[in-house]
Symmetry: C2
Subunit: 434 residues, 2 copies
Amino acid sequence: MVHGRVSRLSVHDVRFPTSLGGHGSDAMHTDPDYSAAYVVLETDAEDGLKGYGITFTLGRGTEVVVCAVNALAPHVLNRELGDIVGDFRGFYRQLTSDGQLRWIGPEKGVVHLATAAVLNAVWDLWAKQEGKDPRTLVSCIDFRYITDVLTEEEACEILRQSQVGKKEREEQMLAHGYPAYTTSCAWLGYPDATLKQLCSEALKDGWTRFKVKVGADLQDDIRRCRLIRNMIGPEKTLMMDANQRWDVPEAVEWMTKLAEFKPLWIEEPTSPDDILGHAAISKALAPLGIGVATGEQCHNRVIFKQLLQAKALKFLQIDSCRLGSVNENLSVLLMAKKFEIPVCPHAGGVGLCELVQHLIIFDFISVSASLQDRMCEYVDHLHEHFKYPVLIREASYMPPKDPGYSTEMKEDSVKKHRYPDGEVWKKLLTAQGN
Amino acid sequence: MVHGRVSRLSVHDVRFPTSLGGHGSDAMHTDPDYSAAYVVLETDAEDGLKGYGITFTLGRGTEVVVCAVNALAPHVLNRELGDIVGDFRGFYRQLTSDGQLRWIGPEKGVVHLATAAVLNAVWDLWAKQEGKDPRTLVSCIDFRYITDVLTEEEACEILRQSQVGKKEREEQMLAHGYPAYTTSCAWLGYPDATLKQLCSEALKDGWTRFKVKVGADLQDDIRRCRLIRNMIGPEKTLMMDANQRWDVPEAVEWMTKLAEFKPLWIEEPTSPDDILGHAAISKALAPLGIGVATGEQCHNRVIFKQLLQAKALKFLQIDSCRLGSVNENLSVLLMAKKFEIPVCPHAGGVGLCELVQHLIIFDFISVSASLQDRMCEYVDHLHEHFKYPVLIREASYMPPKDPGYSTEMKEDSVKKHRYPDGEVWKKLLTAQGN
């Protein structure tokens, strides 16, 4: 039974100075400070439950997303939670189609990130109050702009068919978890010694799938890829990630030169907006056995729809904080199922692992019903700031057992990392003379 | 000779309460308050020249764009104008590829609108100081992500070939101006009586091309389209604009029913992100003689590249404030030339006509060299707030003669319309009890 009226929305600019250690660095984002716009929803209900939602950012600009969350706040404040989730599709559309605000999107960039943060908080709160059935889930999806590929009826049919074997898959997840791969060993900014050390530790911990950042310098890439491939051996899986560094012809040329290291995929070879470009790259690299993966910066379901239509990717990487929360991610999971493309979520950042584990385990149990060619990204940073951090066992995500969307951060972590007035930043900014 | 160091960047949230009169209303934006994030650049040069730049918004959310402009400010402040325009491609990329800020775009939505406002101000300032030759212009373009369709060499070659007949085209523009069409008669929120009156006035003023908003209600559309077609007669040109209201199959169905009114184009039939959807609609409507037009919410050159590759449109509508200023618009004009697709810019809003006249007249003189199937949108609102407003003569844009990008607003207009503390808003907000 859903209850309570939203009485307060607060939003915090929380930043972690990860750039100091080169963590998260890649060919396009050389100095990221992993950050989040962190939303807290309170209601007037006596249960005292709160909804926590985040969207991930890289430092500068978090204040812009915070500003956008505040611009969305009037749509949420003083609304009954029951009314919101009772017509969640309508509520989603209200946020994304505000007659004035949509101009600065629509459904992309800052406003869509802010929408994700707000909706993630609503889902967290709702999930703490009650369970959901498949029909309820479909009613949360806004099918606008995707009915040429997926209708509401088809979505229901997919979920209905996936009821078969659901119980066994639940048990399988509880026992073994969802397979993960690690990105923690080979950030672009790490010296070779760090890379070696992290790689050998990861091997000891049972990791079998590794991702390496490429794209800044070809000779450097060759050296680093050789180093990793030698360390992990020919049988283990290696993925490469260029973070949008290349133009289309350049991507093909560059990856042809890295093909000897047998990457399973090249991730984000070019602009996330370039559907036809990804299709061209996919076609060119298929004979080399390299698939194309993308998604972490694909801004909405319309882009994913076209990537699927154009056969532009072999691995689809949803993001829990760039798409419009569970609502929009559901539509992408269902389209991927229809096109038989495996979903391998983007994670890492701040809280992305915590969020996305829910989506991908749901995908396995209730949508795809398969682990073939599937795995979820994992990065072992910043989990200590979450109240319900992910649990990794033998390189797999173990299903979260606490109610909600695992998005609550520790109060003390938020306080210390609030930008610019938290203790950590005060110290850093003073040292930088700002 | 370029000179001066940027000593100050200020940005204002300027809003006009146009929703009170239904001006600007369409199927998706029912109550727009035409607004702008208005940037003023000052330098330490003795000439005292300032650069004025805007990006257009619809009211709510302008504060978010203002916040993003402030986030970009460190890239501009204390820079020599000579250094900026001396490597304008590099500067463009610095703004659009900031390692932290690009995450909340990249090159789309709020940050890209903010980028446009800042760059429009730089162009305004630069244009007041000196003229530019074609090679300089090409050096301003960031070819990243479009080299599979247009290389720097090809761009230079297009401009070189268009030198032929340039002088005659300049004279033609000075004498007759650039052909325009009007959107002022048929906003969706206007009652039929207003529509009739405005239409008959426009006919008297010599307008021959008219656009009508559609998409909210089919019967209503049929009535309004019949009314206008009857008033303007069978020979004059009628365009329709759905402002993204439809899904792909719906667009085809709906437009089939409006085909009897002989529209030249249907504008924004669906999501601006749906390249393949626009291609499908184009193909379906071609036998009915209806072309597809889009662009005002296409967020960057990568989207335009694909619309051209996919034969998704018959008319390409650039926007001076959504793309990254002159720099990015140049790349789109050149790609359109290569694909032989006419450019018919989006205008109206706040200052869009003032800005876009420069682009489209340049397009005719130096790129397309043709008026075939070409015209520029015009809306007769809010020009009185600009210091150098557009001059329309016989339904044509007359070339602007003052130096700069025509973006300076009257001081008093800015003061009165600043949100929320300008006189106009103080009064309105008090009346609304806010």
